[in-house]
Every structure is written in C-alpha cells, then in structure tokens.
C-alpha cells in the first residue's frame, strides 16, 4: 500500500491546499510543502528499508509491488511497482516539487489555493506514471498529469499563455492517442496468442510480434515519448510552453515531465520491442545527435532567458535519447545521471529566470542590459554556477551524465559519438553567452535590484549541494539504479 500512498499523499495535499485557498495566510503553500515533505520521507524510507546493492538474489529488481483488480472486463488492474529506476525518478519529482513550491512563494499571488492544487495534482500524476506497470493505468496517469499542467500554464503563465498551453496539450495528447492505439493493439495481439486479455507489463513482455507490426506498434509508443522528451523534430511545443509557464511550471515541465518521456523510452520501448528497437536505432541516434547540436545552436541565438534555457533542454535530452538507444550499461547509467542532473540544473536556471523576471519584469537578455553582477552578486554567482553545470563542467553532475552517455555510445557507434561530443562545445558557447549577456558588463544608471533572499538562497543552495554531490560521488545513485538497469537489459536480450 506504500505505493498507493506515494500517489495519494500529494493528491490529498492538493485538495487540502485548494480548500485552504479560502483562508488568509500562506496555508496552501505550507500544506503543499508538508505533503511533499511527507511523501519524500516515505520514498526515502523505501531506499532505507531495501538495501538494494545487497538484496539482489535472482533477477527480480522490483522492490515492492501492488496489484488490485480494477476493470476485470479488460484484464486491467491497479498494478503499481517500484524498482531503483522508478524510485530515483520519484525522488527527483518530489525534490523538484518542494523546490517549485518554495520558488513560487512570492511569484504567485492570485488564486494561490488553486495553483497549489494543480501543482500537486501534476506531481501526483507524474509519480503515477513512474509507478504504474499496467499499461492502461500508465496511459491513464500519462494523460491525467497533463490537465493540471495545462491549467498551470494557462492561468498563471505569461504573455502568450493561451497559445502555448493549447499547443503543449494538443502535441502531447495527439501523440498520446497513438500510444493508446499501440497499447490496445499490443494487448489484443497478446490475447490472440495466450487467450488472456491483459494490460500488465509483466504479461505483455515477450509477446512475439511479426517484424512489421512490431515496428508500427513501437512507433506508436516512441512518438508519444519522443514528443514528451522532446526529440527534434517534435520539439516545437517546448520553447513556447517553457517560456510562458510560471517558474514553478517551468521547473516541473523541464525537471519532471520531460523525464516521463525518458522513463517511457527506458521502460517500454526496448523491453517490449527488442528487435524493432534495434532496427530503429540508427535513425534515432541520428535524430538524437541532430537534437544535441540543433538545440545548442538555436539556444545560442535566443534573446529570451527562459527560451534559451528551454532550447538547452532539447540539447540535453538529446544525450538522454542517445544513451537510451545505445542500450549498454555505461550509457544507461549515464542516462539516469543525466536525467537527475538536467532536472536540477535546468530547474535552477528557470528559478533564476523567474527571480529576474519578478525583479525586472522582463526575460529579454538585451533589456537586462548586463551588469547585474555588481547589483546582485549572489544571484549572478548562482547563475554562473548552474550555467557551468549546464555546459558540463567536470566535478558537477551533468559532466558525469554526458561523459557516461558518450562512453557508452562510443561502443555502439564511434562516428555518432564524435559528432555528439561536439555538442559539449556548443554547450560552452551558449552557457557562457548567457552568463555574459545577463550578468556581466556595466550596470545601467538607476537600476535597482534586490539580491536573492534567504528563501531563494536556501532553495538554490540545496540544488547546488545536490549537483556537486552527484558530480563528485555518483556511485550511490548508480548503485540504486543498477539492478533495475540490469533487469531491463536482460529483458531486451531475450
């Protein structure tokens, strides 16, 4: 039942926060913080109670499983399970959830209760995605998390919010329907073979498919995940949605929602369709490399702080895509680290962008005019730190992720890896460009700017600590993920 609680606590917190919106004071924010902290404690207790590196007899990498009947007519059940991979993603979700509540403490002033309802409901949906192993239930959460996100951007967003939120929703929904079609078709094929209609991941693994239909079914899944990731050329919703979302929305979107695409690729594509995925690998690797370079180059051309960071996400997620399809131990470990590192560093950059916008009422780098360093040294230093993290400075988390992915991909294709490594150079260009434009130079006359306050410093300090810790000592995370990654690789080798 612990797994059900992991989803239920944020959901209950969401409802309470909405109700508390009617009272004066910071009640919705406090309730949201409390619910997420409780959930985080619960998730951490799972880590503690299951010493993973030891408890590895046999192939079963699952720590905990919950199976309740739901819609017996279709063989659908409430099947939740957690392994190291899911647990890492759940932890990341909860940390970033806490961060985004704290980051929007002063930014969000209107309809505070409803805001926190949507924030927590999104998080509950995402946790559901990471835990669900009934494909119908997975799709259910996959869609459910979109609705509150849609409201977050549509109500509290910036100038173009209506356009952006609609674009985001339609892109993800339309690709999601293709996945639903694939899920249903896969279950029906499995039913013809075994006589049992089931949507359980464990049952559907190892369904033998004709090569053509396997490729088509895989494409249905792949498109949904590729749009969410996002992979070039399905990325166009992302810069708009990120730019117009409130800070908390951007953090959740970049830090957590994109990761659901990466998680889907890891969990479903190769394990369910090993041959088709292998056949499709060259295409995806090419697209991944294009994404890495294209995202970086376009980021360099942006004049809007948040838009620039959004394009860097496309570049970083290209590494994730590359690692997933390289599909060996090193690359997969790199993917896991890259997922966490990108969530933290990009999330922090969005918080800084939000802080700047709150103070200067602009996201345009040109209108910031540079020179912020002399006025707000703490803010600028933190900005520099995360820009460096983003460009992959050794000693910080992103470096570990990108290095492992490249090392793994080299075993698959040296040529692709060589081109992808050029992405690191591009990253240095856009990251330093961002720092130079925003923070350096001479401050305009009469510009007053408050530096980061204690709350903001605490939030960003925690994120700095995590990025450094992961950069210096990534082994505990790799240990946590290892059994799950081994399990996935064994599935694909059958």
């Amino acid at each position: 039942m612990t797994l059900a609680w992991l989803i239920a606590i944020p959901l209950g917190g969401a409802v309470l926060a909405w109700l508390a919106g009617g009272f004066a004071g910071p009640w919705p924010r406090l309730i949201a913080l409390a619910a997420l902290a409780l959930d985080l404690a619960l998730a951490l207790s799972l880590c503690w109670n299951h010493p993973l590196s030891l408890a590895l007899p046999g192939n079963d990498s699952w720590l905990m499983r919950l199976d309740l009947p739901w819609i017996p007519r279709f063989g659908i059940s409430l099947l939740l399970a957690v392994d190291g991979l899911s647990l890492i993603l759940v932890l990341l979700t909860l940390v970033l959830g806490l961060v985004s509540v704290a980051a929007s403490w002063t930014e969000i002033r209107a309809r505070v209760g409803f805001f926190h309802f949507n924030l927590l409901a999104t998080l509950a949906g995402v946790i559901g995605v990471f835990l669900a192993l009934d494909l119908f239930l997975f799709f259910f959460f996959w869609e459910v998390m979109l609705i509150p996100m849609y409201f977050l951007i549509g109500i509290w967003g910036h100038e173009n919010r209506v356009y952006s939120t609609l674009k985001f929703f339609i892109f993800t929904q339309a690709s999601g329907l293709l996945m639903l079609l694939s899920i249903v078709a896969l279950a029906l094929v499995h039913q013809r073979q075994s006589g049992v209609l089931s949507f359980s991941y464990f049952d559907l693994l190892g369904t033998s498919l004709a090569p053509d239909s396997a490729l088509l079914l895989m494409l249905g899944f792949f498109l949904a995940f590729a749009v969410k990731l996002p992979m070039v050329p399905f990325h166009t919703w992302l810069p708009d949605a990120h730019t117009d979302a409130p800070s908390a929305g951007s953090v959740i979107l970049a830090g957590v929602l994109l990761k659901s695409g990466a998680y889907g690729l890891l969990r479903f594509i190769t394990p369910l369709f090993p041959e088709a995925a292998a056949q499709f690998t060259p295409v995806v690797m090419a697209l991944a490399v294009i994404g890495i370079l294209y995202g970086g180059l376009v980021a360099f051309a942006q004049s809007d702080f948040k838009r620039l960071v959004a394009y860097t996400s496309i570049s970083h997620m290209g590494f994730v895509l590359l690692g997933v399809f390289a599909w060996n131990e090193l690359a997969l470990q790199g993917v896991v680290v890259q997922i966490i590192a990108h969530g933290l560093s990009t999330g922090a950059l969005f918080i800084i962008a939000g802080a700047l916008q709150e103070r200067l009422h602009t996201r345009e780098l040109a209108r910031m005019g540079g020179g912020i360093w002399s006025l707000a040294p703490r803010l600028s230093a933190v900005g520099l730190f995360f820009a460096l993290a983003s460009l992959g400075l050794p000693g910080l988390a992103n470096f570990i992720g990108e290095f492992l992915v490249l090392a793994g991909a080299y075993q698959t294709s040296a040529g692709v890896t060589a081109v992808a490594a050029a992405g690191l150079v591009v990253a240095a260009i856009y990251a330093l460009w961002l720092v130079q434009q925003a923070f350096h130079g001479v401050a305009p006359q009469g510009l007053a700017l408050a530096d980061l306050d204690a709350r903001e410093m605490t939030v960003l300090g925690v994120m700095i600590g995590l990025v450094v810790w992961l950069g210096v000592n990534p082994q505990p995370v790799l240990n946590l993920a290892a059994p799950a990654l081994d399990g996935l690789q064994q599935l694909a080798n059958i």
Partner: protein
C-alpha cells in the same frame, strides 16, 4: 397478449399512462409545479417497473417489440435522460412568461417514442416510435413561439425531418416489395450480401433506410440541420435532442444493421466507414471556429456520432457493448454540458447565454458551475478520470480488434482537433472576468441534477467495472 406480455411492457405502459395523465391534468388545472411533478412521477414509475419487466425478458411481445436486456438498458438510459431534462427544464422555465405545462406533455410523448424505438423489431414500430419522437420534438424545439430563433429552428427541423421520413418510408416500401417482410428477423434472414448485390431495388431500399436514420443521427452528409436547430432550441430541449433522440436511433440502426447480413457486404462496410470518417473530420473541423457554445456542441455531437460508427462498422458482440457504454457516457457528458448552459442561462427570459464571451471568467464567478462544465468538456474530449476516457478506450479496442485503421486514424485526428475547441472554452472560463455581476439565483433541483451527472461521470471514469458487467450481461443475445 398474455399477462406476462403486459408485465414485460409495463415500463412502456407507465410512460403512456403518464402522457395521458399529464394531458388531462393540464386541461383541468394549469400549474407548472404540478405538471413537472406528475411528469417526474411518471418517469420514476416507469423506472421502478423495469425490474418487473426484466423478470420476463427476453421476450417478443406481439410482432412489434422485443423486450430484451438491451432494450431495457436503453429504456432506463432514455428515461433517466428525460428525467434530467424535465428537472432542468423546470428551472429554466420557472419564472418565465408564458405557459410551459405542455412542454412536459411533449417531453413525455417524445420519450415514449424513443423508448418504443429501442425495443422495436418491426418496421411498423420503427415508424411509430420515430414519428412519436420527432413530431413531439418539432413542437418542443419551437416551444418559445414568441422568440424568433426557436421558431426558425422548429420549422427547419420540421421540413428536413419530413424529407428524411419520406426517405425512410420509401426505403421500407422497396425492401418490402423485394422481400415481402416487415419484421427485422424475417428481413435479416433474406437480406444477405449476395441478395444486396443481386437486387438493386433492395440495396436502394436499405440505403434509403440508413440515410433516413443517418439524418436523425446528423451524420455527414445529412447533418446540415444540426447547428441551426441546436442553437435555436431551448437549451434543455437541445440536450434532449442531442441525447435521447440520437441515442434511440443509434440503437435502432445497430439492431437493424448488425442483425442482418447487410453488415457482411463489403459495400455497406465501406459506406459506413466513409460516413464515419467524414463525420468525425467535418464535425470536428467545423466546430473549431464556432463562437456559439450550442453550435459548437452541435458539431461535436456530429463528430461523436461519427465515432460511434467505429463499433458499428466493426460489428460483433463487442461492438454492441461498445455502443452501449459509449452512449451511456455520451448521455452523461452531453446532458451535463447542456445542463451547465441551461443553469447558467436560467431563467431564460431574455434569451440564452450561449455566446462564448458570456463565459469569460466563469471560473472565478461561479466556480462549481464552471468546474462541472469543464469536467463535461474534458469528458467529451476523452480525458481520463471521466467516463469519456473509458468510452474512447472502448472505441479503440473495438476498432483495433476489427483492424479498422483508417477509421482509427480519423478518430485520432478528430480527437486532437476536438481538444482544441473544448479546451478553448475552458481557457475562456479561466480568463479574467469582464464585469463583476452578482451571481443569479440558482435552482436547487437543477444543481442536484448537475451534481448527480458529475458524480456519475467521475464514477464511471474511475470505477467502470459494475456498469461494464451490467452491459455485458444485457448485450447477450442481441444478435441472432
């Protein structure tokens, strides 16, 4: 007819009795409250008699009716919808000028027509039910005669429905001329794919019948009346038109087509698939640009009827289940959506609030109403947590099982288009209110109806298993 026959027919007889009682009472004592109460009592009585009738089902009563589980399921659905519409109409009309008592009389008569349709197994009962349904609806659409829009809508509906009925009757005549039979089983026995191919008059007859029914379902290309009539009719009546009238005809089409060999003919299947694809695309595309909510929902209902052609083309036992679940979900969400418009507009002295701009900022002025409306729109878009999602899942399963990839492709494109216009309404409701106005008084009965619909919507979305079992049980033996 034996006593058991009467027992099996008792829910239908209760409706008939309710029509007569309301007719007499209105003639003697004209009172809005009393009439509504009587109509509600009649509908509830019919519902209470269903378990009694179910005891003797399945049973063929005279040559006209087949009282089976499926008929009873849809009787319950139709009567519940009529109940919701009556309650909504009471709040909508209460406090308006004019006399509204006959509205309930017509509503009951129309409901009886729909109830006859879902149980009919003969061309005579088909025509009887369809005309009872339609003739009462002409008057209902044009009920506020002193207003221009309803009158125009009534006349338009009347003329076009008349033409459609002419198609239908001519089709029946052609089929009868060729086969010499009027009841569905006898027609079905002779109506094979080879008979259709060999006898052009027979094929023409079947095509005319399907066209006549497609008009009622507002499938493209027989949809032209829909937006105007939906817009012109009073909101509760539009809800009735969109649900009861379409649902009953869909059930009839299913019984007629799936029971006969006509469904085995490749031409029929191609035609059905084509009409389905075009309906989904045209309905959703035309809805994109609507600024009037009732017109928007009219186009969306065209698309939803197109979606229902997926199971109808697929055929088989599973299709019957799919249609039953989808219609149940469609009834709830459509009634809910029009119910929200009705309550927001009531009392509708000075016309209705159906322009999109009137809904700007509704979230912050009447949060509950806007929340319910949003839930209904998301359900129509097929989002999870609601019955609409399970309904869409059913469609996908039915289509994928029969490998109807073209239809499913159109379904996906249509759903993506649908999201755009449903969500646009939600965005407008979440916007900043134009002016601060005091919330108008809301009517308790209407609110209760809307709350019940919302609970049903969520319950069927989160835990559909009991209804699925019921549907599976009732849809056994519909196909010969």
């Amino acid at each position: 007819m034996t006593a058991t026959d009467f027992l099996a027919l008792s829910p239908w007889l209760a409706l008939t009795a309710a029509v007569l009682v309301v007719l007499l009472v209105v003639a003697i004592h004209r009172d809005h409250r009393t009439t509504t109460a009587l109509a509600v009592i009649g509908l509830v009585a019919s519902l209470l008699l269903v378990p009694l009738a179910a005891g003797s089902a399945p049973r063929t009563v005279t040559a006209l009716f087949s009282i089976d589980g499926y008929a009873l399921f849809f009787l319950v659905l139709v009567v519940l919808a009529a109940l919701a519409v009556s309650v909504l109409a009471f709040g909508y009309c209460n406090g308006c000028e004019g006399r509204y008592e006959e509205l309930y009389l017509l509503l009951l008569a129309s409901t009886l027509g729909a109830a006859v349709l879902v149980a009919s197994r003969h061309f005579a009962s088909l025509l009887l039910g369809l005309e009872l349904l339609s003739v009462a609806l002409f008057a209902l659409v044009a009920y506020p005669v002193h207003q221009k829009r309803p009158l125009e809508a009534g006349v338009k509906y009347f003329i076009l429905a008349g033409v459609a009925t002419a198609f239908l009757i001519f089709g029946m005549a052609l089929v009868y001329a060729q086969l010499g039979a009027l009841d569905f089983p006898a027609v079905a026995a002779q109506l094979t794919a080879s008979a259709l191919a060999g006898q052009p008059y027979l094929a023409a007859g079947v095509a005319l019948i399907v066209a006549g029914l497609a008009f009622k379902l507002s499938l493209v290309p027989f949809h032209l009346w829909t937006p105007d009539v939906f817009e012109g009719a009073p909101a509760p009546i539009t809800a009735f038109l969109a649900t009861v009238s379409k649902g009953a005809v869909m059930v009839l089409l299913l019984r007629f087509l799936l029971g006969s060999g006509a469904h085995g003919s490749a031409n029929t299947l191609t035609a059905l698939a084509l009409v389905g694809i075009v309906s989904m695309l045209v309905g959703n595309l035309l809805a994109l640009m609507q600024r009037n909510l009732k017109r928007l929902l009219a186009y969306s209902s065209i698309a939803h009827m197109g979606y229902l052609l997926v199971p109808l083309t697929a055929g088989g036992e599973f299709a019957i289940e799919t249609v039953a679940y989808y219609l149940a979900a469609y009834f709830i969400m459509t009634l809910g959506a029009f119910g929200a418009i009705t309550i927001y507009s009531a009392p509708a002295n000075a016309g209705e609030l159906d322009d999109l701009e009137a809904y700007r900022g509704l979230f912050w002025q009447r949060p509950w109403l806007a929340g319910v409306f949003t839930a209904m729109l998301l359900a129509l878009a097929g989002m999870p947590l609601t019955a609409g999602f399970v309904a869409k899942f059913y469609l996908f399963t039915a289509g994928a099982d029969a490998r109807l990839w073209a239809l499913l492709g159109a379904l996906i494109i249509g759903s993506a288009l649908g999201l755009f216009y449903y969500l646009r309404v939600v965005v407008v409701m979440a916007g900043t209110p134009r002016q601060q106005e005091a919330p108008p008084k809301s009517i308790l009965a209407g609110n209760v109806t809307l709350a019940a619909l919302t609970i049903l919507l969520l319950a069927l979305g989160l835990y559909p298993a009991p209804l699925l079992d019921l549907i599976r049980h009732t849809s056994l033996g519909v196909l010969p």
